[in-house]
């Protein structure tokens, strides 16, 4: 049997961080007393009508722009009809055949569509299962009901669980940087469902898919998809067939259990929402949405890799922390003659570590270190005015108290000791004499023994010597082996 290839598409619900709900004036909230942010409209009293939230539309347009989607000139709101206590109108206002945006892309994954809708209220099922079946009672908190959502649906372009989780992280970062959502998976402001199927590698046809719900972290997303892929492969390899169903992920056990058909089997009887006119964004709204876009993570990663030659993981680290990336770019601009990847490594490596080592503050942009100061430091290291080790010491000083690196070097006497002025040569010779044993072993061909001598030199110079230079001086004195 041919190997079975994973085919994964994601459906992401993004709660928009607007001030008020999608169709009424109630404020959005999280973690407040139940049912304090409600009104006749979001409680679906008789006679009320929805009025679309303009800010939500603008945020939706920004997401559409960030995902490089086509925006429909007139998109249509539909009613999705179903009875459930979290849905007081008994229909959700969503979009159906003409969504806000279609045909986009993020990274290597195509976006099928993105549309606006309203969130359901929050159900609390009292009882052990935490789900409606088997619970003693169910309570409804309408604070969340009517929160604006953008639902993003990808094409089935992902080929593995880890890839899916990584892409979802990129999407979260993208939306976060737009500033349109809190994108907090635990709080539910970002919710990711996965459509999972397998097919013989190389096949163009799609296998029967299952839908995975309730994976409230990227780790669970990955684990849930992995578990489901394994299950599907086992079923097919045993000659079975995959049933189209919705599976609920239990983060405690890692199990996927089918949702009961009563919760699931719906004919939603979609029809155009007669209480709303078509959503026709003006040219100005479209332009504003495009102009509001910051440089998004995917673009930044591309630029850092292609133009600056950064390694993929470093580019990713910077792209997901835009303030740090900004700090990096300012440092790079000031650090003449220093390679971008050196600057990037210092920013994401030494500086990040030094910041973490202080009081857990790890944001370079918020620290006492000025980009110009770091640039000065890196230039001194580059020009071998100080050693790498001294550079780290100066950086620790900068993190602690800020200031000018040249002054710190001066004050601490960290200027590099070089072989040319004889001082270093003398220290090297003394270290060799003190470690005759090591010199002997080097002569016998054990290159590793050089470490003991270098260590002694570093100790003596308090790290002010350049490691490469110390090596060279030792080898010169031992002669070709």
């Amino acid at each position: 049997m041919a190997e079975l290839e994973a085919v994964i598409g994601l459906e992401i619900h993004v709660q928009l961080a607007t001030r008020t709900k999608m169709f009424c004036g109630c404020e959005l909230s999280f973690g407040e007393e139940p049912n304090v942010h409600t009104c006749p409209i979001c409680l679906a009293h008789p006679g009320v009508l929805p009025v679309p939230n303009e800010q939500a539309i603008r945020y939706g347009l920004q997401i559409a722009a960030a995902l490089e989607c086509e925006v429909a000139p007139r998109s249509i709101f539909h009613r999705k009809n179903y009875f459930y206590p979290d849905n007081p109108k008994a229909y959700q206002i969503s979009q159906y055949d003409i969504p806000l945006a279609t045909d986009g892309r993020l990274g290597d994954v195509r976006i099928h569509r993105a549309h606006l809708e309203e969130d359901a209220a929050k159900m609390v099922h009292v009882g052990e299962s935490g789900r409606i079946h088997g619970s003693g009672a169910s309570l409804v908190d309408f604070n969340r009901g009517g929160t604006p959502l953008v639902e993003i649906v990808t094409e089935p372009d992902l080929r593995g669980a880890a890839e899916a989780a990584e892409w979802a992280r990129l999407l979260r970062e993208t939306v976060r940087q737009l500033g349109v959502s809190d994108v907090n998976m635990e709080e539910g402001s970002l919710r990711v469902d996965a459509n999972v199927s397998v097919r013989p590698a190389g096949s163009e046809e799609l296998g029967t898919k299952t839908e995975l719900k309730n994976m409230n972290s990227f780790r669970f997303l990955q684990r849930g998809i992995e578990a489901e892929l394994q299950r599907q492969r086992e079923v097919i390899e045993a000659g079975g067939r995959i049933e189209q169903e919705t599976l609920h992920f239990d983060p405690r056990s890692g199990d996927l259990t089918p949702l009961r058909s009563k919760e699931e089997a719906h004919d939603y009887r979609y029809f155009p929402e007669p209480d709303l006119v078509p959503l026709a964004p003006t040219e100005e709204m479209l332009r504003e949405a495009r102009e509001a876009l910051p440089e998004l993570p995917a673009a930044r990663i591309d630029r850092y890799e292609a133009e600056l030659g950064l390694a993929g993981n470093v580019a990713l680290t910077l792209a997901t922390a835009p303030a740090t990336a900004e700090f990096f770019e300012r440092t790079l601009a000031a650090a003449e003659g220093v390679e971008a990847k050196v600057v990037a490594n210092w920013v994401t490596g030494e500086l990040a570590a030094a910041l973490r080592a202080t009081d857990g503050e790890s944001d370079a942009a918020e620290s006492k270190v000025e980009p110009a100061a770091l640039a000065g430091l890196l230039t001194m290291v580059q020009e071998k005015k100080i050693s790498h080790g001294s550079g780290k010491a100066v950086l620790a000083s900068l993190v602690a108290e800020g200031g000018d690196p040249a002054a710190i070097v001066e004050r601490e006497g960290l200027a590099q000791i070089s072989g040319d002025d004889g001082e270093l040569a003398a220290i090297v010779e003394k270290a060799m004499a003190d470690n005759a044993n090591a010199v002997e072993r080097i002569r016998e061909g054990n290159d590793k023994a050089i470490g003991a001598i270098v260590g002694a030199v570093m100790k003596e110079t308090k790290g002010r010597a350049d490691g490469g230079e110390v090596n060279r001086l030792i080898k010169e004195r031992i002669g070709p082996g």
């Binding site: 006749p40 409680l43 679906a44 009293h45 008789p46 006679g47 009320v48 009508l49 929805p50 009025v51 679309p52 009613r79 009809n81 009875f83 206590p85 007081p88 109108k89 008994a90 229909y91 169910s138 409804v140 009563k262 004919d267 009887r269 979609y270 029809f271 007669p274 209480d275 709303l276 006119v277």
Partner: protein, 480 residues
Amino acid sequence: MSELLELGVADTATKIASGEVSAAECFAAWREAAAGDELNAYLWSAEDGASEEPAHGPLGGVPIAVKDIFCTEGVPTTAGSRILEGYRPPYSATAVKRLDAAGARLLGKANMDEFAMGSSNENSAYGPVLNPWDRTRVPGGSSGGSAAAVAGGLAPCAIGTDTGGSIRQPAALCGIVGLKPTYGAVSRYGMIAFASSLDQCGPLTRDVADAALLLAWLEGRDPLDSTSVGIEGGIVPPHREDLRGLRFGVPAELAGDAVDAGVREVFEATLARIEQLGGELAEVTLPNAEHGISAYYVIAPAEASSNLARYDGVRYGMRSEAGGDLIEMYETTRAEGFGAEVKRRIMLGTYALSSGYYEAYYGQAQRVRTLITEDYVGAFSEVDFVVTPTAPSVAFKLGEKTQDPLAMYLGDLFTVPASLAGIPAISIPAGLAEPPGGGPRLPVGFQIAAPAFAEQRLLDAAHALERAIGFDARPGGEDG
């Protein structure tokens, strides 16, 4: 005292404004009349001891009957349904607020067919309304309580809602004026939805001038209703006295329709009257109007099936005592709370929207709707108005059509097309006709439809025609 009850909206407001009579005195007189309601026109009427605060605004102190489909803060609002028994809305409809801001005072909540579904008012959970002209007959529906209250001397004016004729037809059957404005002219906020793409609020009054006066305060863009736009330029009192230069289209299709002889006679006499006033008659064609009823009885129930799904016993209104789990509670509450006609339409609409049938029913009905709208656009390129009888017959007997829903639906054939096209239409009393089978003569309505947002022209023409007709019969009057 009783002479106060003879006055319409404009005259009442003038009398109060001049200080000839106080608003409280006026309200008390009307309240007493409403309290003596023998027609079952009201589901609720104002308590004794009305506000003594002085009248203000252009409708200062004028009492008004409001169809029970409009939410009124703190005042029972049932839409004629058992399922909303005991419901007191936490807010008021925009139409109610606008009238209140103009100085009108809520006299009572008028009976109606349950959720505005019906043409006879026999579908009210709280009993049928009786026609003041003949209490063995229906007042029409669904705004039957509003129409009977105005015609029966229980209110100087009323507002109702019209989805497929629910203002115009009861106005016709009760011998008063009923106006359905253009869809979007008046806010729907707080008007309990039946069929959202068709529902529209309008006045039921004794004469056209009063209808204009109420419309002037009702219309307007409402930020709470995305589909509302108001009427550009507003509405001023109608003053026209002739119809010179105006063309009235009579649909050719009318000839074949089953219109009662008495109604046809009054209709033709009214056409002659139009010519006497200098108006011109022309034949127009509305070839798709004959499919109006079919399309309407797909679209309206479809929207209703969704609009009425919120009545589940969870948050407000009645809840079945039967117990059981959530689904059973939904089911028993809805089984006990809704009447037969409402259930019939919910089932029709649910079916029409269901997967696999949507295109054949809802999709097709929407296409018919578009064709009918285009028919009117075509007609209005040749004429200023399209005129028909409002209803094919005079008021029928209580119970006469209750066993035959289809016959009842067919009574809407002249009113439904304008609803589907979203255009304004008015019914004015045009005369009396003997019902088939004999008996005292009953009012006949004449319907005038105009292009979208041409309410001013429509009111002007209706006013001129009304003056010429000089309809002054009263229930229990000449024949009664």
